[in-house]
C-alpha cells in the first residue's frame, strides 16, 4: 500500500522535532550504567593483580622475620602509601558497586533505580575514603618523617 506508506512518513517527519546532532557522533555513551561497569572491570583487574603480589609478600613470613619485614617495609614508604590509597579506593568502589549489582538483580524493580544507586555508591565511596585516606596518609608520612 504505497499511499499509506507516504502518509506514515509524512506524519512521522512532522511530529518529530528536528534531531539534535549529538556530540561525538554515534559512539555509544551509556552514562551511569556504562561507566559503573567500566570502573567495576578496571578496579577488579587491579585488585586481582594486587592479590597475586600480596599472597607472595605475605608468604615471606615462612622464609624469615627479616625477609618479611624487608618486604613489608617497602609498603610503608610514601609512594606506596599513596598507592595504597588508590588500592583501597578500588576495593571500596568495587565493593559498593558490587552490592549495587546484587540489588539490581534481586530487588524487585531494582534495574529502574540503577542510576540513583550509582550515585549512592559514589556518595558512600567519598564518605569512606574521607574516613580512610587522611588517617592512612598521616600514618605513612609521620613514619617517613621520623624514620626508623
Amino acid at each position: 500500500m504505497p499511499a499509506a506508506q507516504t502518509d506514515a512518513s509524512t506524519i512521522d517527519s512532522a511530529a518529530r522535532p528536528a534531531k539534535k546532532p549529538r556530540k561525538g557522533g554515534t559512539l555509544y555513551r551509556g552514562n551511569e550504567g556504562m561507566w559503573s561497569w567500566v570502573l567495576h572491570r578496571i578496579t577488579g583487574v587491579a585488585i586481582f593483580f594486587f592479590l597475586l603480589v600480596h599472597v607472595l609478600d605475605t608468604a615471606l613470613v615462612r622464609v624469615s622475620p627479616e625477609a618479611y619485614n624487608a618486604a613489608i617495609g617497602t609498603y610503608q614508604t610514601p609512594i606506596m602509601g599513596l598507592g595504597e590509597v588508590g588500592l583501597v579506593g578500588a576495593i571500596v568502589y568495587h565493593a559498593f558497586n558490587g552490592i549495587r549489582i546484587i540489588l539490581i538483580d534481586f530487588l524487585p524493580g531494582g534495574a529502574k533505580h540503577q542510576k540513583l544507586m550509582f550515585w549512592i555508591v559514589i556518595g558512600l565511596f567519598v564518605v569512606t575514603m574521607l574516613g580512610f585516606a587522611p588517617r592512612h596518609l598521616v600514618n605513612v608520612f609521620e613514619h617517613a618523617a621520623v624514620g626508623h
Binding site: 572491570r41 577488579g44 583487574v45 585488585i47 586481582f48 592479590l51 597475586l52 599472597v55 607472595l56 605475605t58 608468604a59 613470613v61 615462612r62 624469615s64 622475620p65 627479616e66 618479611y68 619485614n69 613489608i72 609498603y75 610503608q76 602509601g81 595504597e84 583501597v88 576495593i91 565493593a95 558490587g98 552490592i99 549489582i101 546484587i102 538483580d105 580512610f132 588517617r135 592512612h136 600514618n139 605513612v140 609521620e142 613514619h143
Partner: protein, 145 residues
C-alpha cells in the same frame, strides 16, 4: 505455515549443571562475604592504632596466634581468588576471540589461582610464630615464654 508445538529449550529439568549460572550465583554470594572479610582486614591492619606502620613479622604472628584470624584470612584468600579468577575469566571471554589464546589464558588464570591458594593456605596454617634462631626483638611477645 503454523507452528504446532513450541519447544522450550530453556527448561533445565533433568539437564546437567549450568556452570555459568553457578558462577553467577557464586560471584554474588562470595561478593557479600568478601565485603565483610576485606573491610574487616583493612580496618584491623590499616585503621587501628598506627595502621600500616605497625605491620611487621611480630604483628602477623600475633594475629595468626588466634585461630579466628587464621580462619578469617584463609576464607578471604580462597573466596577472593575464586571470585577474582572468575572475574578475569569473564573479561578474557569478552575480549579474546581466538579460541586457543582464550583457553590458554583461562588456564593460566586458574593455574595461578590454585598455586597461590595452596601456598597461602600452607602459610596460614603451618606458620611458626617463633622460628628458631631469629632475633628476639623481631618476634612476638608470646615467644618469650
Amino acid at each position: 505455515m503454523t507452528i504446532e508445538t513450541v519447544e522450550y529449550p530453556r527448561s533445565t529439568a533433568g539437564k546437567k549443571t549450568n556452570w555459568e549460572r553457578v558462577g553467577w550465583a557464586f560471584m554474588r554470594g562470595s561478593g557479600v562475604l568478601l565485603v565483610i572479610l576485606i573491610f574487616g582486614h583493612l580496618f584491623t591492619n590499616l585503621m587501628v592504632g598506627k595502621g600500616i606502620q605497625a605491620i611487621d613479622f611480630a604483628f602477623v604472628a600475633g594475629k595468626w596466634a588466634d585461630p579466628f584470624w587464621q580462619v578469617w584470612d584463609a576464607l578471604m584468600l580462597v573466596l577472593a581468588f575464586i571470585h577474582g579468577s572468575n572475574g578475569m575469566r569473564t573479561i578474557v571471554n569478552d575480549y579474546v576471540s581466538k579460541e586457543a589464546t582464550r583457553k590458554a589464558l583461562i588456564g593460566v588464570i586458574w593455574a595461578a589461582a590454585i598455586i597461590l591458594i595452596v601456598l597461602g593456605l600452607l602459610v596460614v596454617f603451618t606458620f611458626d610464630p617463633c622460628p628458631a634462631g631469629s632475633p628476639a626483638e623481631l618476634l612476638p611477645s608470646i615467644c618469650k615464654a
